[in-house]
């Protein structure tokens, strides 16, 4: 008896001692940020992935020509390029690379790596979903659409090992903003070619143990559905200024579980905070709750190739008959009603397209050939299916909209949950009626919210197109004067939102939790926080 008790005593003491230090406190000592990242990344190849959660990891691993600023979305921080100079019309940009920039295996980063990467993402056989991001380059769309096989027609020119010249489709003074996006990151030519060919789909170069990166961090470990961790890249040119030792990304799908882990001291920051948690934290611990504007739009895609959604009047009726204000106030917390496609952005005045107007909606429905019967139901209107990716808050919003349509229009829609991959497949094959979706801006310009609706764009997925809209977008690419350019984009947006290929729901807000020990983390519209300048306070 006594012996067993003696044996137990140190074990108990250790248990008590271990419990006193939370994961976050331990990580603070080690200088590692624990980051809730919502899901398992689909991969780490910057030219393949498309999601926000992958971009968080890529931001730690890779560095483009310019980098993100910790507190100012508009600021340009030199990254892989020491200088980036436009010509007089802002059409030809010359980048001088850092001579001391190196891949994490010690090989220098050269202009050839950049050119190789741009050729890779634009080659049609590679099938990159985000290739449109590089259409800023002269001739990129023709090459990507297979109209020419000659990459020298694209405006990418290697002058020497450290000089890269990019010729654009038109004057683009805001080009450095675009360059921050991860699709413009270089990939290590020597490593990609070692493990396969340039355009090989599923080339294994970006797997654990093979991947080589040029950013402040390199991949340390990756256990599927458990964690992904990055550590300092010793060959990074600015390694001496990197304050954070590493980042651990946790794929926690359920946002309520995530909030629970945060409150247990297992996370520095959560990916999101669901409405109930926002309310709870406001009461319990308001200083860890962050509510910040975020450039993103929540909307419902309409399949405009199907009846009755091919009729713009029907789409507009659907759009006008649910109360955005009520959804924002009572379900989404902090989100703003979206009266246009582009969320508020400095200098751009988003045209007012949508308000809550059930009277007008009912009129449009009747006009489109779906009159109401005595009970206010519309018996001729088919039962539409409303597709959702299986996520918690999406289902709540969808059920509210479903009930509002029943009440205001007398129509029934059927909510259909699908697992993420099945959901994407259904959208790509236009095998849906309505689909709950969202879009987060890639850079700070209305173009990122408008260009996706052009004909044949990989993110359109509605079957909608309009020649006048295309024409205006083309015109905007040639306009150098920012004010005139915004006026053209505004006209384009007016055309698009009037035809309502998507039903605007809300403009995003970022609700999340952040541990007070994290310093150097500021509100950002694009939410691209550079990790290397973050500090963790130990006590």
């Amino acid at each position: 008896m006594t012996r067993r008790a003696l044996f137990l005593l140190p074990a108990l003491l250790c248990l008590a001692g271990c419990q006193r230090e939370t994961q976050v406190e331990k990580a603070n000592r080690e200088g590692i940020l624990i980051f809730g990242n919502s899901n398992e990344p689909k991969g780490l190849d910057p030219q393949v992935v498309t999601g926000v959660l992958e971009s968080n990891i890529l931001r730690a691993l890779f560095e483009g020509l310019v980098s993100d600023h910790p507190s100012d979305d508009a600021a340009i921080v030199p990254g892989g390029a020491q200088t980036l100079e436009p010509d007089a019309t802002a059409t030809v940009w010359t980048a001088r690379l850092r001579p001391n920039a190196k891949w994490s295996d010690g090989t220098p980063v050269t202009a050839r790596d950049y050119a190789f990467s741009y050729e890779r993402i634009l080659t049609p056989e590679f099938g990159a979903k985000y290739a449109e991001m590089l259409y800023f380059l002269k001739g990129a769309d023709r090459f990507n659409k297979g109209e020419t096989k000659d990459f020298s027609t694209v405006g990418v020119e290697v002058i020497d090992d450290l000089t890269l010249r990019l010729t654009l489709r038109g004057p683009t003074p805001y080009f450095p903003q675009v360059l921050k996006h991860y699709t413009w990151n270089p990939v290590p030519r020597h490593v990609v070619l070692k493990h396969g060919t340039m355009t090989q789909k599923g080339n294994p170069w970006s797997k654990l143990g093979k991947i080589v990166s040029n950013g402040p961090y390199q991949l340390k470990s990756w256990r599927r559905n458990d964690h992904l961790e990055v550590e300092r890249n010793p060959h990074y040119w600015g390694a001496a200024d990197v304050t954070l030792n590493g980042v651990r990304f946790l794929p926690i799908t359920n946002s309520y579980t995530e909030a629970r882990m945060f409150r247990d001291g297992q996370l520095h920051t959560t990916y999101t905070a669901p409405p109930e948690i926002v309310d709870l934290m406001l009461k319990e611990n308001p200083k860890v709750l962050r509510q910040e504007p975020y450039v993103g739009t929540l909307f419902i895609r309409c399949n405009t190739t199907r009846k009755p959604l091919d009729d713009a009047r029907v789409r507009r009726a659907l759009s006008l008959s649910f109360n955005q204000q009520e959804i924002c106030d009572k379900i989404l917390r902090g989100y703003k009603p979206a009266y246009g496609m582009t969320p508020p952005m400095a200098g751009y005045d988003t045209p007012h397209a949508v308000t809550f107007n059930p009277e007008e909606a009912r009129r449009l429905m009747t006009e489109a050939g779906f009159p109401a019967d005595a009970k206010g139901k519309r018996p001729d209107f088919p039962r539409l299916k409303y597709l959702l990716a299986s996520r918690e808050t999406a289902a709540t919003t969808a059920q509210a909209i479903q009930a509002m349509w029943r009440k205001e229009l007398g129509i029934e829609v059927e909510i259909e949950n699908k697992e993420w991959t099945a959901y994407l497949a259904a959208m790509q094959e236009l095998d849906y009626d309505l689909a709950g979706s969202g879009w987060i801006g890639d850079f700070l310009d209305p173009l990122t919210f408008l260009e996706m609706w052009s004909d044949g764009n990989g993110n359109n997925l509605t079957g909608w197109s309009n020649p006048k809209f295309e024409e205006l977008l083309k015109q905007s690419h040639q306009e150098a004067d920012p004010a005139k350019r915004y006026a053209i984009l505004r006209e384009a947006e007016t055309i698009m939102t009037a035809e309502a290929p998507v039903l605007l729901t809300a403009w995003y807000a970022r609700n999340y939790l952040l541990d007070p020990s994290v310093e150097g983390w500021y509100p950002l519209l694009l939410d691209n926080h550079p990790f290397d300048s973050i500090r963790l306070r130990t006590k």
């Binding site: 309520y256 409405p275 709870l280 009520e326 379900i331 909510i415 697992e419 099945a422």
Partner: protein, 313 residues
């Protein structure tokens, strides 16, 4: 004067006799009957509210005179949702398990009784089905079955003339029954096969065979009643798992569609919000777990009652 002929009791009467003297099992039985009545008759009562009407001005309310169990995150009446959700959960529990047990019983007993090469082949098929990842299969299945299921719904509405609100919640569950039924029978088939193999060379079977009975009669009349015990125990243990599986599958798009609900879904939603609104978890979980407890008591009692070897008095 002839003495009245003493009538022998049939095995089922005998079993009922034994069961009715088991207090726990009878409690379980009556509780289950009560739950079924409450869930299926209850919603007809005028005081039960609609489970789908949203009131965004009153979300997450505590239990009160108007909302007995409070309201959920969209202001819907939780009491009504628990009752309607119970219909789905009970239906899934009974039908899907029934399908699985029926297939498993026949497959396992044939395989075990006939033996030899056929037995090998049938069991290897079971092994292969076991090896396939269930959730991946279900996702693929949901892609395929989507259209036929909605066509089936339309067909039922057209031929019967019933209202869609009554038909759709049941017919959209068909893919779910098929999915669960087609996987759930594997374990039962193995249990039944093992049982049949232990019985098929025992004396009473030899006796039946020497009387010249056919295979079918021997198998279903003499062997299967002995196998029923373990199968019932396994079934009562499988029902909870199947009811929970339903909520997972519904989340992946196969089964119940919002705004309709089931206990599994209500519990999942409630668990997410348990810090802020405990009722949302408490009430559905109370209904769910007490039903499962009752099932277990009943299953336990049935095993004792149906065991032909237990002493007759």
């Amino acid at each position: 004067m002839s003495a009245p002929v003493e009538k022998g009791l049939s095995p089922w009467q005998d079993a009922w006799h034994r069961l009715s003297r088991n207090k726990a099992a009878m409690l379980g039985l009556w509780f289950l009957v009560a739950i079924v009545l409450v869930c299926f008759i209850g919603p007809l009562m005028p005081f039960v509210k609609s489970p789908t009407v949203i009131n965004l001005d009153n979300p997450g309310a505590d239990p009160c005179a108007e909302h007995w169990f409070g309201t959920d995150q969209l202001g819907r009446d939780l009491f009504a949702r628990v009752l309607y959700g119970g219909q789905v959960s009970l239906l899934v529990g009974i039908v899907a398990t029934g399908v699985a047990v029926l297939i498993g019983l026949i497959y396992g007993s044939v395989s075990g009784y006939l033996g030899g090469k056929l037995d090998d082949l049938m069991m290897r098929i079971v092994d292969i089905l076991f090896a396939l990842p269930f959730l991946v299969l279900v996702i693929l299945f949901s892609l395929v079955v989507d259209k036929p299921a909605s066509e089936f719904t339309e067909w039922v509405i057209k031929t019967t003339g019933w209202s869609r609100d009554k038909v759709a919640p049941i017919t959209t569950l068909m893919p779910l029954f098929i999915a669960i039924g087609s996987i759930g029978w594997l374990t039962i088939a193995r249990i039944v096969r093992a049982q049949v193999m232990t019985f098929k060379h025992q004396e009473f079977v030899e006796a039946a065979r020497s009387l010249g009975l056919g295979h079918g009669r021997i198998l279903f009349r003499h062997i299967l009643p002995n196998v029923i015990g373990p199968v019932i125990v396994y079934t009562t243990l499988a029902v909870p798992g199947i009811m929970l599986l339903e909520s997972v599958l519904s989340f992946l798009g196969l089964g119940v569609r919002p705004p309709n609900s089931s206990w599994g879904i209500l519990i999942k939603e409630g668990a997410d919000r348990m810090e802020t609104n405990t009722w949302l978890l408490l009430f559905p979980a109370l209904f769910f777990s007490s039903t499962l407890l009752a099932l277990n008591f009943l299953g336990d009692g049935l095993r004792d009652a149906l065991d032909p070897r237990s002493s007759k008095d």
